[in-house]
């Protein structure tokens, strides 16, 4: 039995589990049963994917007599699919494990449990699909299942809107992909991916397919300006589902883009990499700036997802450009960076959302302004969150740094582009990537510092307790993976080799042959990085310094009230808040990005009224694109609606007019 059959079997079992869950959802141990079963199945899926990827298996295909009857439901497992199956199920295993504990707090289990396994199955099926119909069916099924999960807490304010915006944008994305596949399949309807590969489309078709795939996959991944649904929908779902949506489902979208653009559509002109690069960079910047402005912890994480997706698409755009310019090694490097970052983001974003869920469980709060001091109360969760925040801020020796480092290395190859626009654009993109990374670090200082450090800002935060063991194990596993991926990046790069080879037709240097477990993107004299050594160095020197000082100097410690320049204030409200932390950046960058307006009302000395400070942010993308669309649709529908309240005579006039018009056309017909 091939790995593919195993994977499909597990997917079918997940779907069946969804049906079972409808029955057992309200039972006492129902939630535990469903998550345990999902955990087992996802572990099997993970094992299957990893086996295929690590074992360098040849692609296998399978056809089931489902779907469109004349082509059947085609499935295929190749390196690219296997990699993403691994990534997806890493997240899925963690989320299921977390669900074992977290699920007990669910008020409406019957609105979560049936859709959770269905969502997992949908994502896995997208990765295995080998024809347009199966792909889109699974794709949209995935959207639907996640929509149902977003709507699980439908009575909370804002969630209905979130679900609505989400599903409409998902529909837009599906339609774009539908058009892309229609283009690639041609008029005769060659919907299998195999037929599309063999069709070798013209450059124009490839370019159009690329743009449609960018819109379609991009809307699911959260590329600006199609990202608006993401920060609404991801936080609305239960936290382990948020982890899946943010950490994993966006990767499925990345997979869709890679599959269409690098595998099916054939080579596009280098010019078409420019929009990908530009959109990616813009997305990264917009995402992280928004993330810095948010005060809801889960929304911060959701916007940060947008940022990371932007970075992935920057790397994908580079891979496209390098590939189109015939620079194989560089293309492989950029592709590896994109894939590596996808993996990393799946790990740390899942970790962070699970952590946010733990905070939510412990305090019932997502607003950072009501949290604080949690590190003392939830030390383990806090530690894992710290690992996640460090990793996502691209700090060595954790994994986030490695993929961004690879990305920058790819960007540094841009002088070799033969095309001037790329030569000039890429360094600018590089600067933006650096800016984004720096802003992300600031963002996560804030996202960790405000809720976990300082003094509790509310009674709920004061009373927080550590969460259950399942949740901690899930977060711990992800944290360890973040560290491992950071200190053994060479192994991962080598694992990605067949994927990058299939996508770009070239390879990075074999990392396993390089001494000391360093990684080398192009050549050792050019650049290299050794995560393990840096990790050991830091650990050793920190230990050395600490022990030296403790041994040779003092190790006495005294607890005392905070000094605070001699003006300690017992009120926790005097602490810096999330809003005040980002105020300098808001003043520097927010003016033109958010049209930020600040107003300060400072009473004159002696006046008794309180001072007040307000600021308002507007999302220019929402204002510039979505509001006009809504306005136009509303306006037109109001105008057209009058047509439904005419008199019968007026309706007859319409019929009469249509008749006369058609007769006139007939009379004028050549």
């Amino acid at each position: 039995m091939s790995a593919l059959a195993l994977l499909l079997g597990c997917d079918a079992a997940l779907l069946a589990l969804g049906l079972v869950a409808m029955v057992v959802a309200k039972r006492k141990r129902g939630s535990f049963f469903v998550y345990a079963a999902a955990l087992a199945l996802c572990s099997a899926l993970l094992a299957g994917g990893a086996y295929h990827l690590l074992g360098r298996q040849a692609p296998v295909g399978l056809m089931l007599p489902l779907g469109l009857p004349w082509i059947g439901a085609n499935f295929r497992l190749d390196a690219l699919s296997a990699f993403f199956v691994t990534v997806v199920n890493l997240g899925a295993v963690a989320a299921s494990l977390y669900g074992l504990g977290y699920g007990r707090h669910e008020r409406d289990p019957e609105r979560v449990l049936p859709f959770f396994p269905a969502f997992l199955a949908g994502m896995n099926l997208v990765l295995l699909a080998d024809d347009a119909y199966t792909f889109l069916l699974s794709w949209e099924f995935m959207s639907l299942a996640s929509w149902a999960l977003v709507m699980a807490h439908h009575r909370e304010p804002g969630n209905q809107r979130a679900g609505y915006v989400y599903i409409v944008m998902a529909s837009f994305g599906t339609m774009s992909l539908l058009l892309a596949f229609g283009l690639l399949a041609g008029a005769s309807g060659a919907y299998t991916f195999q037929a599309m590969r063999e069709a070798s489309p013209t450059a124009g078709v490839a370019a159009l397919a690329l743009m449609l795939a960018l819109a379609g996959a991009g809307s699911k991944a959260g590329l600006a300006p199609l990202h608006v649904w993401l920060p609404l929908a991801h936080p609305a779902a239960p936290s382990h589902v948020s982890a899946l949506m943010s950490g994993v489902m966006t990767k499925v979208a990345v997979y869709g883009f890679i599959r269409i653009v690098f595998d099916l559509a054939g080579p596009a002109d280098w010019r078409w990499s420019v929009p990908v690069l530009a959109v990616g960079a813009a997305t990264g910047l917009i995402g992280v700036l928004h993330a810095l402005m948010q005060t809801d912890l889960k929304r911060v994480l959701a916007f940060s997802t947008i940022e990371n997706i932007g970075l992935v698409f920057v790397a994908l755009g580079l891979a496209l450009a390098f590939k189109a310019s015939g620079m194989g090694g560089a293309a492989a490097l950029a592709m590896t960076a994109a894939l590596f970052h996808s993996l990393n983001h799946a790990l740390f974003k899942s970790l962070l959302f699970l952590g946010a869920g733990a905070v939510l469980t412990a305090t019932g709060e997502r607003r950072m302004g009501r949290l604080g001091g949690l590190l003392n109360r939830m030390p383990v969760t806090g530690f894992f969150m710290l690992v996640g925040c460090t990793a996502i801020s691209a700090l060595p020796p954790l994994n986030g740094f490695v993929s961004e480092w690879l990305m920058l290395q790819a960007i540094l190859l841009s002088p070799q582009f033969p095309q001037w626009p790329l030569k000039l654009l890429t360094p600018a993109v590089g600067a933006i990537v650096a800016l984004v990374a720096a802003l992300a670090a600031a963002c996560f200082v804030r996202a960790f510092g405000i809720p976990f450090l300082g003094r509790p800002r509310s009674r709920e935060a004061e009373a927080a307790r550590e969460v259950d063991r399942y949740s901690l194990v899930a977060m711990g596993a992800l944290a360890i993976l973040c560290l491992l991926a950071g200190i053994f990046p060479g192994a991962i790069i080598d694992t990605l080799k067949p994927v990058a080879l299939a996508a770009t037709g070239a390879n990075m240097p074999m990392q396993a042959k390089i001494p000391w477990l360093s990684i080398v993107p192009i050549a050792e004299s050019r650049s290299s990085y050794n995560g393990l050594l840096v990790f050991i160095f830091i650990a050793a020197s920190a230990t050395l310094a600490a022990s030296a000082i403790h041994r040779l100097a003092s190790d006495a410690l005294r607890r005392a009230p905070a000094w605070d320049c001699g003006f300690p204030d017992p009120n926790p409200a005097t602490q810096y808040t999330a809003e005040s932390f980002s105020q300098p950046i808001r003043r520097v960058l927010g003016g033109f990005v958010f049209r930020a307006r600040e107003s300060l009302d400072m009473p004159a000395p002696g006046e008794m009224r309180p001072a007040s400070y307000h600021f308002a942010l507007r999302d220019p993308i929402w204002d510039a694109i979505y509001l006009p669309i809504v306005a136009v649709v509303t306006n037109l529908s109001i105008r057209l609606n009058r047509l439904q309240f005419l008199t019968i005579r007026q309706y007859l006039s319409v019929v009469f007019g249509a008749l006369v018009a058609l007769l006139l056309i007939l009379a004028a017909w050549p």
């Binding site: 007599p65 489902l66 779907g67 469109l68 009857p69 004349w70 609105r111 347009a132 119909y133 889109l136 069916l137 949209e140 099924f141 639907l144 709507m151 439908h154 009575r155 209905q160 679900g163 609505y164 599903i167 409409v168 529909s171 837009f172 339609m175 539908l178 058009l179 596949f181 229609g182 283009l183 399949a185 041609g186 008029a187 309807g189 919907y191 649709v633 509303t634 037109l636 529908s637 109001i638 057209l640 609606n641 047509l643 439904q644 005419l646 019968i648 309706y651 007859l652 319409v654 019929v655 249509a658 008749l659 058609l662 007769l663 007939l666 017909w669």
Partner: protein, 482 residues
């Protein structure tokens, strides 16, 4: 040659006709409802027999691969609707919206409508087809107005007038076809027999055919509900009893569509006539986009889905207008799926309206909380109608959009635009109804979820797995439709 051979055709015509006569005199609604159901089921069985024994076609009747699809679908939905009707109508009697006399009339008319529709579908004579469709119109007019409220009567009146004008235009088109046929086929009955016409049509005068098609398209298009000829449709759906809404949307529109298709075939076969495809595609797109916009401003749940019917008829007509094996296949599939889905939705909506005591969308909230079965059925139904997988309409929309984009990209853009627009409107309304704090109104309903489950089950199955014989059949018909 027997004009009226005793076989399946006789059965599907005689059964409803006889039942109609019987029901007109049968007191007691319970027994009537049962008779209605049994007869509808028998008709369905008789129609299904066409798959096995295809009756020979004569000058009056014709059973070919095309109309078998329509007949079987029609009789099936008619049967399930009668099951739904039985559980629905009792409640109407309880709350006093209908009297037993009305019910007797209602059941008789129901069967009369089935007779008229079956007649229209099996008619080989284009004149007979016209008569049958007029009859179907009149019976539905009578049923739309059955509640005798001002609104109902106004809706019926509007339907009647617009329908009559449409039917007059269709008649003129029919006469024109005969005029075109007469010099070639000869005078008399032969000039109206479709099977004869289709054989000789390449020799017909193209200008007359063109003119005829304009009239037929507008005439029968009115009954299909294509914008801008649709005005009667929403009110007729909203004000009549819900089973009739289901029948209107699920069946009558199809019958009119069938007539359009028959004449499209004639025109296609004449090389010199204007290709009917572009006109149909244009009307289809216009209907789709227009209905999509209209969906946003609906306050009444039945009107909402009536407009959704206009939208889907637009898609179907567009698909047939595009032609080609893929688009025609998609059109047939879409029509089948739409009939099943839309009638299921109306069944659900009927129960919802009874449970909440209102048809106003704003007063229906939180269904998944207060009535989980109805709420989730509605969600499933709307998802199906909105073209979400893994439900059947997704398959047909997939085929329509992909094949259109490959052949005529500039047409695919408005198509996709309309689809997304309609999707947005439907989901907007759906979310408000299905989620949130439930609105008051918790009357128990004698809901029969069997028809809903049967329809949605079929639709779900079609999205995942289409049986090969069905596919072969549809492909054959699609090839026939060019």
């Amino acid at each position: 040659m027997t004009a009226f051979p005793f076989d399946g055709v006789t059965a599907i015509l005689a059964l409803p006709a006889a039942t109609a006569a019987l029901l007109a005199f049968l007191p007691g609604y319970r027994i009537s409802a049962t008779v209605n159901m049994v007869s509808a089921f028998a008709t369905f069985v008789a129609a299904s027999s066409f798959f096995l024994i295809k009756p020979a076609s004569g000058v009056y009747f014709l059973v070919d691969d095309l109309n078998i699809v329509f007949i079987v679908l029609n009789t099936f939905v008619a049967f399930t609707t009668s099951v739904f009707s039985a559980s629905y109508i009792a409640h109407e009697l309880e709350i006093g919206r209908l009297t037993p006399t009305h019910l007797r009339f209602y059941h008789a008319m129901y069967q009369a409508l089935l007779f008229a529709m079956n007649l229209a579908l099996v008619a080989n004579n284009i004149g007979l087809m016209w008569v049958a469709i007029e009859m179907a119109t009149l019976t539905t007019v009578a049923m739309v107005g059955i509640y005798r409220t001002n609104e109902a009567i106004e809706a019926a009146w509007k339907y009647f007038i617009l329908g009559s004008v449409g039917i007059a235009l269709a008649l003129f088109g029919t006469i024109l076809v005969y005029m075109a046929a007469r010099p070639i086929v000869g005078e008399g009955l032969d000039g109206m027999v479709w099977t004869t016409l289709i054989k000789r049509v390449p020799e017909f005068e193209p200008a007359l055919l063109n003119l005829a098609f304009v009239f037929l398209m507008l005439g029968y298009g009115t009954k299909v509900g294509l914008a801008p000829l649709h005005a009667w449709l929403p009110d007729a759906h909203a004000e009549g009893p819900t089973p009739i809404s289901a029948v209107l949307s699920g069946l009558l529109l199809n019958v009119a569509l069938y007539a359009v298709l028959r004449f499209k075939l004639l025109l296609d076969a004449n090389a010199n006539a204007i290709a009917p495809g572009p006109l149909m595609a244009t009307l289809g797109i216009v209907s789709l986009i227009f209905a999509a916009f209209m969906l946003y401003r609906r306050r009444d749940i039945k009107r909402l889905f009536a407009f959704s019917s206009i939208e889907h008829m637009g898609i179907i007509v567009f698909a047939f207008g595009m032609g080609g094996p893929l688009a025609n296949f998609a059109g047939l599939l879409h029509m089948t799926m739409h009939s099943l889905t839309k009638s299921a939705i109306f069944f659900t909506v009927g129960h919802i309206a009874q449970a909440k005591g209102t048809q106003k969308i704003a007063d229906i909230r939180g269904l998944t909380v207060s009535h989980p079965v109805l709420g989730w059925s509605l969600i499933l139904g709307v998802f199906a109608i909105a073209g979400l997988p893994p439900l059947g309409i997704f398959t047909s929309e997939f085929l329509v959009v992909t094949s259109t984009f490959a052949r005529a990209p500039w047409l695919a853009i408005p198509l996709v635009f309309g689809l997304i627009l309609a999707f947005g409107a439907l989901i907007l309304r759906l979310q408000g109804m299905a989620f949130g704090e439930p609105s008051p109104g918790d009357k128990p309903t004698t809901a029969s979820s069997l028809p809903i489950a049967a329809h949605l089950g079929l639709v779900l199955m079609a999205g995942l797995y289409l049986p090969p014989p069905l596919v072969a059949w549809f492909q054959h018909v699609a090839a026939m439709l060019r």
